[in-house]
Structures are given as structure tokens and as C-alpha cells.
Symmetry: C2
Subunit: 245 residues, 2 copies
DNA sequence: CGCCCTCTTGATCTCCTTCAATGACAGTGG
DNA sequence: CCACTGTCATTGAAGGAGATCAAGAGGGCG
């Protein structure tokens, strides 16, 4: 059994024992994808969603003109591919950045889970709203901030997400994305990502050792970031309690 | 009773008579907001969501540094303010562009509706995924396209949404946004929006008469747009049928 | 050992911003 | 009826953030 880590859900709402158990085991047996390999191509028929049990992966859109934009960098514990649930053909490509362990959940199983555990609908609704907020913040940052501010925001975002799953030690974490990929996330060229990063390094705000990055002065970085981190409301008023539905 | 127009839902899934009736009447009695007035401020406590029964409104984020980014332009029939349902303080400000008729739905009522009509959870999940896809497309356009391409995409997006509610005649529709507001949507300055728009006009691709805009050659505009319109899947495989839950 | 990928840096170019001024128009009060 | 005011559209000139093009260096892996 895949034993999907429930990071996302445990951050946002209290789950009953049964619910937690169901979510952890909702996926097919896990599949291992090698670095760089494609988990699902853009335009593939949509027959399921994906649980990222371990690893880093990207969700990217290719414009007809050929450019690639990464719209989300997924880490251990993320659900992937859910935006395409409302389409016939997948909107985004899912690509493994590091080696990834992935469990697929067929849409037919989603259907029976939604019927058997009616609180799952509202819980998923909540999870998507959180993703939507993240995209709103990205749009605001892209529209109104400089390359430097956006890069700092992205690094802090990685930091804040990784720290919840115990992948940060003293501001230091593994960042397996190349500068080209960072550019595709930020809407910048790899060259400009490099220059911006080197500047931050020279100012002593960050340090790098191979694939590792160290956020040396998080307070200073937070002052540079155009947006503060979001505080999600645990168990909001509209969410029916376990057992209530 | 507000009689909220179910544009959003009828586009995406078949509703039972009961469900349609419930959704149409879920709001408080409607309130009229004058042009420019604020429906809900950023950081206000979140105690409900809003149904836009008629009019144009914006959802915008203000960055700490003071810049405003519009993340969504709402038209008749849209649900507003739902991203803030996962927060204590509203993420976005809701502002009337034209005179607006708005019905509020208290979160406590959302809770009972979710319990009484369990298919509402999956339906809302679907509605948010559609919004999320729209934001993904915006991010891709902002990251990889020129001002001209983004403006064309926005105009076509308005066209495609307005045509579904019968507000377009022969490529012509009312566009009550100032160039400054368009700039805040696109992440551009009003000056550059003006120049870009005049250029499109001189090329004969669009025409303007006061608040009205005419998309003269929609095919040509679609070729300029960096992204084609999305085709939402009506009644996806994972969505339980009415009566099934 | 040699190849390819990634990082790095310089030089030049360009798209969009910034700053500034003008005109058109609607609303308002005398 | 008309001056007065504020908002919005328009255009020019100059400046800057980031793109593009090009080349070299380091490092992992066959």
C-alpha cells in the first residue's frame, strides 16, 4: 500500500481516523519515476490524479508557441494533476525533477470515495482553494514585483513548505531545480536567475553549496519578499465536522 | 429572493431541479453597490461568500508595498470571495466596477447546505478547479507572453465569458474597465495598455466606441492569443450523479 | 578521457516604465 | 448658461530591468 503522507490535509483540517486511513491508502501501488521522466504528458486523456509520495516534480504548461511555464513545483506529500479533473485532456505536464515515488488514483475510485465519505468533497474543495490562493499570490508577484523580489519569495515559499515536512535544517535545504527550471517558474531567463542569485549571495542573504541552499538571514529575506506567507485557517466555520456528514 | 443566475454551474454539470433551486436561492436578500464602492475589503473577517447577481466587479490583492494587482474580473453570475474561505482575514478586496447587485451567503449557511446536499461539495470543488485553471493560464501568459499577446488574450477571455450570458452581439460588448484597471489586471502600466490598444485599433483588429469594444477579426485575434480557450468537461467521470449521493 | 549539462560573466538590445504635458468629457455649483 | 474640477485617454521623450547572444569554466558520468 502506498501510505501517502497526509501533509496537505493535516495542515488544514482535523481528520477522523477512518478518513486519514482512507486517504493514506487511496492510491494504486506506487510507481517509481526516474529524474527527468514524464509522469503524465500535457493533453493525455485524464483518467486519474497522482499522489507524490516522495520527490520533487513540476507541473508545467506548454504554450502553442512552444514556451514552457512551470505553474507549480510539487514536493513530497502533494496531490498532482487535479486541475485536469475538469477536462478531457490534461492541461499540464507532470515531470519528475528528482526520482519520484508516485501513486495514481483512478477517477472511478475518486467517485466512490466521494460517495462513501461525503466529507471528502468539502476537504478537497478546501485543498484546491489553498492552491488557488497560491496562484493568486504568484500572479500578484509576477505583475508587480522585480525579479529579485520574486526569486526571494519563491525561495521562502520552498523553505516554508519544506520545513513542514522536516526537510529544512537551520535555513538549509536541498533545492534540486536548475536555474533554467527556476527561470521557467518565475517567468525569467536562466541567465537572469543566475545574476539575481549571485547578487543575493554576494549580499550574504543566501549561500549555496552544490544542490543545497542556505537562507542565511530569513528576516531580511522576508522584508524583501513582496508577500508574507499565508496563514490557513484550520477547520473553518463552513466545514462540516467529521461525523456530521 | 435573489435568484442567482446559475451560469457557472449550468456550464459545467447537470443539476437536479432541487439543486438548481437551492443554489438560486442560497443568498441573503440582494444589496446594491454603487460604482467604485467596496463590497468587501482586504483583511476583513471572512463570514460569507458573495453571489454577483448583476454587474462587473474586481477581486484584487494589495501588496504590502502598496501596488494593486487584480486577480479576477467578475461578471454577472460569478461567485466571489471563495478563496478567502480558507482564511480568517480576506485575501482579496472585492470592488464594484459598475453598479452591482450582490447577495451574500453566510458561511454557516454554506455549512448546512454542504450537509443537506452532499453533491454540493464535489460541485464546488469543480468550480474552483476551473478558477484554478484560469489562474494557471494567466501565470503562463504573464511569464511567457508580450503585452500585446496578453491584452488580446484578456479581450478574448471577456468575449468568451460574456457571450455565454448573452452580452455580446457581433463581436461587440460593453467593457466598463478603464485602461488603468486593465493595466492592473495585466501587470502593465495604463500608458502601455493605451499604446498597445491603439496599435490593435490601427491594425483593424479591434474598434472602440466609448465604453464599447468590437472584436472585428476574432480569428486573427485567436491566432495572436498565447493560449486557446479551455473546454471544460461537462459531467466528468469522478462526479457522482444527482441522486447518487 | 571526453562529452554534455549547468553555471557564470560580458556586451548589446528592446520592451516596457517613468515622467510629463495635453485634450476630451462629465459632473457640479454659481 | 458657463466656469471649475476631476477623471480618463493620448502622445512624446528618456531611462531601466530584463532578454538575447556569445563564450568560457567546472563537474558529473558514460
Amino acid at each position: 500500500m502506498p501510505n501517502y503522507p497526509l501533509t496537505r490535509f493535516h495542515e488544514q483540517a482535523s481528520l477522523s481516523e477512518v478518513e486519514a486511513e482512507v486517504l493514506r491508502n487511496m492510491g494504486d501501488p506506487e510507481i517509481v519515476y526516474r529524474r527527468q521522466s514524464v509522469i503524465r504528458r500535457q493533453r493525455d486523456p485524464v483518467d486519474g490524479i497522482y499522489l507524490l509520495i516522495e520527490g520533487w516534480a513540476t507541473s508545467s504548461l506548454c504554450l502553442p508557441a512552444g514556451q514552457r511555464q512551470i505553474v507549480k513545483v510539487h514536493i513530497t506529500g502533494d496531490m498532482m494533476g487535479t486541475p485536469s479533473m475538469v477536462l478531457d485532456a490534461a492541461a499540464d505536464a507532470l515531470t519528475a525533477v528528482t526520482e519520484c515515488r508516485v501513486a495514481k488514483v483512478p477517477l472511478t475510485r475518486m467517485r466512490s470515495l466521494l460517495i462513501d465519505y461525503p466529507r471528502l468533497g468539502p476537504l478537497l474543495f478546501m485543498a484546491v482553494q489553498i492552491e488557488r490562493l497560491a496562484l493568486m499570490d504568484i500572479v500578484a508577484a509576477m505583475g508587480k514585483s522585480s525579479a529579485r523580489e520574486r526569486l526571494v519569495r519563491l525561495l521562502l515559499d520552498f523553505h516554508d513548505r519544506l520545513i513542514k515536512i522536516g526537510m529544512v535544517e537551520g535555513g538549509r535545504f536541498d533545492l534540486p531545480l536548475t536555474q533554467e527550471l527556476l527561470g521557467d517558474v518565475l517567468g525569467l531567463t536562466a541567465v537572469h536567475v543566475n545574476r539575481t542569485m549571485r547578487l543575493l549571495e554576494r549580499e550574504g542573504l543566501i549561500a549555496r553549496h552544490g544542490q543545497c541552499i542556505v537562507l542565511g538571514d530569513i528576516e531580511a529575506l522576508r522584508r524583501i519578499s513582496p508577500l508574507p506567507p499565508r496563514r490557513i485557517r484550520f477547520d473553518p466555520a463552513w466545514l462540516p465536522a467529521p461525523g456530521e456528514m
